[in-house]
Amino acid sequence: MDQFIVKPLFGGDAIHWYTPTNVTLWMALTVAAVALMFVAGTRGRAIVPSRSQSVAELAYGFVHKMVEDVAGKDALRYFPHIFTLFLFIVFANFLGLVPMSFTTTSHIAVTALLALAVFLSVTILGFVRHGVQFLELFWVKAAPLPIRPILAVIEVISYFARPISHSIRLAGNMMAGHAVIKVFAGFAALAAISPFSVLAVTAMYGLEVLVSFIQAYVFTILTCVYLKDALHPHH
C-alpha cells in the first residue's frame, strides 16, 4: 500500500494542511495537463483543428452533449463546473496509471470532497430554484397514495446515500485496480509464476485504462443526473 501513502515532498514528517506533498505534486501535474491540452492545444484557434485542438474539442463536445442530454438545456449554465470535475477526474485517473505515480483520486478524502461538493451544491440549487417544492422530489406522484410515504422514506435514504456511493465508487475503483496490479507485480518475483504474473499485470493495466475513463464518465453523468433532479424535481 506504499503507493497510496501521502508524503511531504521536501522531507519532514509533519503533514499540515499547507504542506506540499505528493498530493500537491500530482494535482499540479493534473492542472498542468489540463492547461497543456486546453490552453496550449487550442492556441491555434483553427477552423480546421490540429490534433490536440480536436481532442480538446472532442472532450468539450462530449461533456457538453452529456450535460444537455441528461440534465437539459437550462443545465448548460453549470457546464463549466461539470467540465472541471470531469477533466480533473479523467486526468488524475490517467496520471495515476503512470508507473511510480500517486493516484489522487484513489483517496476517499478527495472523492468525498468532490461528491459532497456536488451533493451540497445540487441540494442548495434545488431549494433556491424551487423552495419547499423541491421536497416533491421525494413525493412520488406516480405511485398510489397509500405507498407514497414508504416511497418517500426510501427516496430520502437513497438521496442521502448518493454522495457516499458517488465518492466510494470512484475511490474504490481506482484503489482496487492499483492494489490488484501491485499484488500481481509482487508475485512476479517468483520464477515459477512470473510469466502468468506479468501477463496478469498487463491485462489489469489494460482494464485500468478502461476503468479510468469509465469512472470519470460515470462520476460526471451521475452529477448530471443529480443536477437534473435539482432543476426538475417533479417526477
Binding site: 499540479a28 489540463v34 486546453f38 487550442t42 483543428p49 474539442e57 463549466p80 509482487g186 508475485f187
Partner: protein, 181 residues
C-alpha cells in the same frame, strides 16, 4: 515455496511494519488533500472559464458559421448551375428545331429538283425512244424492200437458169404474193 509465496504476497500487499491500515483512512492527511484539491479545482475552473471554454466555443461557433455559409453558397451555386443547365437545354432544343426546319426545307427542295430532273429525263427518254422506234421502222421497211428485190432477182435468175423465159411482171406478182403470206 509456500512460505516464499506468502512472503511475496505479504510484500506485494505492502503490509509493512510502519504502515498500519489503509493510507486512505489516515485522517491526519485529510486537510492537506482537501486544501490542495480545492486549489486544483479552482485553478482548473479558472483555466477553463477564462481561457479554454470561450476559445473552444468561439472556434466551434465560427466553424458552424462558416459551414452554414459554405452550404448557402453551395446552394446558390447549385441554383445557378441548374439555371445554366436549363438555358443550355433551351438553346439545344431551339438549335434542334432550327436544324429540323432546315433539314425539312432542304429535303423539300431536293425533292422538287429531283422531280423536275426526273420529268426532264423521262421526256428526253420518251423522245429518244420515239426516234429510235421511228428509225427501227424505217430500217425494217427498207429491209423488207431489199428482201423483195433480192427475192425478185433470185426468182428471175432461177427461172432463167431452169431454162424458162422469165416474164418480169409475172415474177414480180408471184413474189409479191408470196411475201404477203
Amino acid at each position: 515455496m509456500a512460505t516464499e509465496a506468502e512472503d511475496a504476497a505479504h510484500a506485494a500487499a505492502g503490509h509493512g511494519a510502519e504502515a498500519v491500515g489503509m493510507p486512505q483512512l489516515d485522517f491526519s492527511t485529510f486537510p492537506n488533500q482537501i486544501f490542495w484539491l480545492a486549489v486544483s479545482l479552482v485553478l482548473i475552473y479558472l483555466i477553463l472559464t477564462r481561457i479554454a471554454l470561450p476559445r473552444i466555443s468561439g472556434v466551434l461557433a465560427e466553424r458552424a458559421g462558416s459551414i452554414t455559409n459554405d452550404l448557402l453558397a453551395a446552394e446558390e451555386l447549385k441554383q445557378k448551375a441548374k439555371e445554366a443547365e436549363a438555358a443550355y437545354e433551351r438553346a439545344l432544343a431551339e438549335a434542334r428545331a432550327e436544324a429540323q426546319r432546315i433539314v425539312g426545307e432542304t429535303r423539300a427542295e431536293m425533292a422538287r429538283d429531283l422531280a423536275a430532273a426526273t420529268a426532264r429525263a423521262e421526256a428526253e427518254i420518251a423522245a429518244r425512244a420515239a426516234e429510235s422506234e421511228r428509225r427501227i421502222a424505217a430500217i425494217r421497211a427498207s429491209a423488207m424492200e431489199s428482201v423483195a428485190e433480192v427475192a425478185r432477182d433470185t426468182a428471175l435468175a432461177l427461172v432463167e437458169a431452169l431454162g424458162g423465159r422469165a416474164e418480169e411482171a409475172a415474177v414480180h406478182a408471184a413474189v409479191e404474193a408470196r411475201l404477203r403470206e
